[in-house]
Symmetry: C2
Subunit: 194 residues, 2 copies
């Protein structure tokens, strides 16, 4: 039985560079465990139904109360398409038919790569999941542009519209070198929240 | 000074499901640290120069001695394109001009998503980096097909050739529902090595 069983010490990590590595890693002061940190993959989709677009009003931080497309972190052992379908189930009780990859965005400040798909509803019903205050289908002119949660929601909606209007089926990337650090109208995002 | 300073206990994690979560996480038995695990992003490129393709013979596990395209894990705060360029610098001392996204592959067994770009050499020189035993430019018919490191190297080379022959510039995905669990000729990959 290891000597530490039955008690808990304080969580304590130090940034140290291991021999043969060239990046400092978070290393547990108690046991030497190396907490490698990697960029995270967000999967999501712009979902159309009868010419309108599915948005979810976030019930959780970050950006609670703001509207977003169904999207979230890819889980272990999941394909991106499966992850995008799962997020739409969880956030909007929606069953998706995925058409194709719409965009690959990156937000290096928060170490995110986003894979965004074009999709439609395979079933006409939607309802808020536990992470959503509300879900709704919006005509283009009714989209709450000032209440969108993230810069990439703006990007994805506009890119989906460009695709709908005949842009070639090549995935879009960040518009004009945008970094995702501010909203498209220049507003800052809350610091430290995400 | 925390009570545990100055000594090291044994690294010991248990799989437990926290309240409000629905997936079991690795939790440190010593201090309660939750080691969230996420899928990893591999960035790489098929690099052409004068009609030949850059391959690197791996000097490190997994698949030491086998040939691969320059590719590796995306680092924190890095865009995928920057990561692909960095990997080519590290593995082949190569300066890349990236053209476009060639493919998005996923290998759910090992929780990998791969973003593979088409690129050319911005400078004509290549040389083995520390992780490569050798680097070389191969004409299509000289590619060492039986000594390629991973299934996705096969996929990427074939998809790059299709692109070269005029396939539309839409990113490819895993061919025919392939999972990446075996080599294209049916050979198994070494278990547990990666």
């Amino acid at each position: 039985m290891p000597s530490h069983m039955g008690r808990m010490t304080e969580t304590s990590f130090s940034l140290r560079t291991l021999e043969g590595d060239d990046v400092a890693r978070k290393i547990c002061d108690n046991c030497g465990f190396v907490a490698y940190e990697n960029p995270k993959i967000v999967v999501g989709s712009v979902v159309r139904h009868d010419g309108r677009i599915l948005l979810c009003r976030r019930a959780i931080a970050p950006r609670q109360g703001y509207w977003t497309i169904p999207a979230g972190y890819l889980e272990l052992n999941e394909t991106p398409e499966d992850g995008a379908r799962r997020e739409a189930r969880e956030e909007a009780t929606a069953q998706l038919a995925i058409e194709r990859l719409l965009a690959v965005y990156s937000v290096p400040r928060i170490s995110q790569v986003q894979l965004i798909y074009r999709a439609s509803l395979a079933e006409p019903t939607i309802a808020p999941g536990i992470e959503s205050q509300a879900v709704d289908l919006f005509a283009w002119d009714d989209i709450p542009w000032d209440e969108l949660a993230f810069p990439s929601v703006h990007w994805a909606l506009n890119h989906d519209r460009a695709a709908q209007e005949g842009a070639p089926p090549v995935p879009f990337t960040n518009p004009d070198g945008a970094t995702g650090n501010t909203m498209p109208d220049g507003r800052a995002l809350p610091v430290g929240e995400f």
